[in-house]
Symmetry: C2
Subunit: 270 residues, 2 copies
Amino acid sequence: MTVALASPTPADIRLLCRDDKFRAPATANLCDGHVQANVIILPNKFAADFRALCARNPVPCPLLGETLPGDATVPARLAANADIRYDLPLYRTYVDGAYVEEKRDVAKEWKEDSVAFFIGCSYSFEAALTAQGLVPRHTELNRNVPMYRTKVPLAAAGVFGGNMVVSMRPYPLALLPLVRETTRPFVLAHGEPVAWGVEGARALGITDLDGTKPDFGDATEIREGEVAVYWGCGVTPQLSVMDSKIPGLVLSHAPGHMLVLDMLNKDVCV
Amino acid sequence: MTVALASPTPADIRLLCRDDKFRAPATANLCDGHVQANVIILPNKFAADFRALCARNPVPCPLLGETLPGDATVPARLAANADIRYDLPLYRTYVDGAYVEEKRDVAKEWKEDSVAFFIGCSYSFEAALTAQGLVPRHTELNRNVPMYRTKVPLAAAGVFGGNMVVSMRPYPLALLPLVRETTRPFVLAHGEPVAWGVEGARALGITDLDGTKPDFGDATEIREGEVAVYWGCGVTPQLSVMDSKIPGLVLSHAPGHMLVLDMLNKDVCV
């Protein structure tokens, strides 16, 4: 039996997940106005390094909050009565940096030294772009956003390093100032673009100038008079953690299956 | 007449500057234990973008504080009774991004819309390295630290962009973990290194692998078994501002002539 709820609240979504009744293909476009978070769960001995990674690279890794070690309660400031072991639609597990499987909950995998980190997501500023009539191309095409590994090294932090990942949305060059201004306030959701255009692509080390061969997500269309605009992407901290090959179990949300927070998009803005 | 003070306090140094009696070649090695700050003074209309540049790139641009617009008083948390128009030993002026001259004070240049920004400096962590017996090579050689423009783009912020500048200190590979650990706590003074070694140089786009041709500062010696270790550098925000060519007058400290703060090195640590 599938469940259809009209205008579900974030708490509704989390409870559907907890009862294993959530069956949408992803959390995108659910709960307008509310923040969704990328999730990474690590052993506590790597928590200080991960916290430093986020502090030193706040554009791709905007840290919204974290749990106490071994306590699966999401901070109330982010979501009320939320349990990170159950309240995501779909999780992924990794051992020694290698993907193992997807799971509906991580009750068995959550340990007494587990710490969950919550990272801001571009859905927050995409809502603002759409409200300005600047509908992201991948939304128009009903695809996933294209993402690229860049050659830009992160500021290393303990065991974590690697390169920045960016997401890309094409816009007419004349609208670039408005695009930048619209996403700039979202400081805990990647904020303004990091770079744009052919010169930006070169600085980032991106060679796919027509948007047809992204490293992650789906191809897009860059139309006449448009430039590729690049934002920091929340896949960055995930790749950094996986590439670090820290020993043991790491958990994350499955792509597109984010934690839906009570927190509002305006709460991640200056 | 030159003035020689035994063990001057930061307030002593600032008053010498104010009275135009400071004649040391630089502020390096003065007032052990106290923070020295890079200084940038901008028209207020660019202040929000500069603040964002620092927030988005905290490793090369650690913002310690700022004045109110038109009020030359340094925040008391940084230094008591300090006036940014007079209390540096030497200033530089720039118009439309082009260097004009060095001045002993900027009383005439300070405007009602001027805002001064104070940026952390590597002197703070160099003291900690030296205390660990990890004396920086340029200190041993009595030279300036070598610095490099990198190919790493900053996360753009309004009118400001450009690339990260790094400083370099060579260390034996075996001591790298201790070097990283020693500077890691200095989060408002560039913190741990961003990269190291040949692979790090490649990631940063640095081709001078033997330390003989830095872009700024002096050549150094990389000895047998040593690797180049790279830290974010406070020259980054200065270059970003100058390269942006914002219209009008910009002021900064002259190289090596920093603002000596009452703030202690431990105050820029986590």
